[in-house]
Symmetry: C2
Subunit: 219 residues, 2 copies
């Protein structure tokens, strides 16, 4: 959980970017709020320069929008955005599965298995925050195994955007166990290098996650 400006990435700008992004996704800044460089800089005890650079990056991500000489305003992620992201993932994870299975090396495969084992452990233990973290790692390994820069870029950014709601939905009754079973099927298909099966179980997993999220209260 990266917070504050004293830990995290390397440069100030990087840390500020991470923090602002997290704050926006956490709803600490709401859509329409204006971000004033000087104010943020003072709050974090830095100059405007790294704050500006972080904002420029948020702008490219469309998490904020900037009106020249006027100010920067939070866009954030809406419920609709999240639903769209799930629909998009449902389209794309089949492709991700195929490429990953074709291109994944043994090392990544073992990593995937390790993460699955840990997920099993923490699910049994009931530590769902830990499971959520492992879940992100699990899917990141798949994304990276596709060796596709464009695909990685989309899917890992999107995964980050929906992290909060994903974690919340994991806490719905029974979902953690169901999710675990789905991940097991994914690992199995990947180990067998069975592309058809891999596409099928991964897409089903996303579809189930999506249904689960859509059942969540809209708050």
């Amino acid at each position: 959980m990266k917070r504050g400006v004293s830990q995290g990435g390397y440069s100030l700008r990087e840390k500020i970017f991470q923090k602002l992004r997290q704050d926006i996704l956490d709803g600490k800044y709401k859509a329409g709020d204006s971000l004033v460089e000087m104010k943020l800089a003072e709050e974090m005890g830095v100059s405007r320069t790294p704050v500006r650079e972080a904002i420029r990056q948020l702008e490219l991500e469309r998490l904020v929008s900037s009106i020249p000489n006027k100010g920067v305003f939070v866009e954030g992620i809406t419920r609709q955005d999240i639903e769209d992201i799930y629909a998009i993932r449902e389209c794309m994870e089949g492709l991700a599965a195929r490429w990953a299975i074709e291109r994944m090396d043994e090392k990544s495969l073992r990593e995937l298995e390790n993460i699955y084992d840990l997920m099993e452990f923490y699910t049994t233990k009931g530590d769902l925050d830990q499971v959520g973290e492992l879940n992100s790692q699990f899917h990141d390994i798949i994304f990276e195994s596709t060796k596709s820069k464009p695909l990685m870029q989309i899917l890992s950014d999107f995964q980050y955007y929906i992290e909060n709601i994903r974690l919340a939905s994991l806490k719905a009754p029974g979902r953690a166990m169901q999710s675990l079973i789905e991940h097991k099927a994914i690992v199995q298909a990947f180990k067998e290098r069975d592309i058809a099966k891999g596409e099928k179980v991964l897409v089903e997993h996303i579809s189930n996650s999506r249904l689960n999220v859509e059942k969540m209260p809209k708050a």
Copy 2:
């Protein structure tokens, strides 16, 4: 064709960003080249500040990568990236068609028809640069009609990345006319608000574009 720093967007930073991005996509800077802030600033007759901000945005797009305290290096778009982008579009444009047909208003539909008419005109006339520009507009209207921020973001960025090769492939013998016919089918399906047909013809269009690009010389 946005070039130089004297025209284009609003702020210096914006103009510099556009120019650097275009130069990278045009291959003026090649993968591995290092971008030195001071050098770029002098070339464009500005200070380092707006150059830095532009670079930070390119970094987020992964068109350059930055090693702290060391430098910024061009990543660019590889042939593999372009092929991946077509594969991704083939997955996603079906969704785009569905959403666009469901949500498109009459005004956008008429715009689409207008653009098609112009495409027809310029194709007959043989002005393929103009056709290429219209092509981008055509698909942008579809993306915007989906009213989906995540989908628009992906597809319009990707469209920009492949603009050069798309234009080149349009100049392959017979491709312009074939492409025109495909666009006509798309307009037709959209006018009829026929989702199944719209998905089919749009995905086929992408698939054909992709095959056409893959036939291109790799230079």
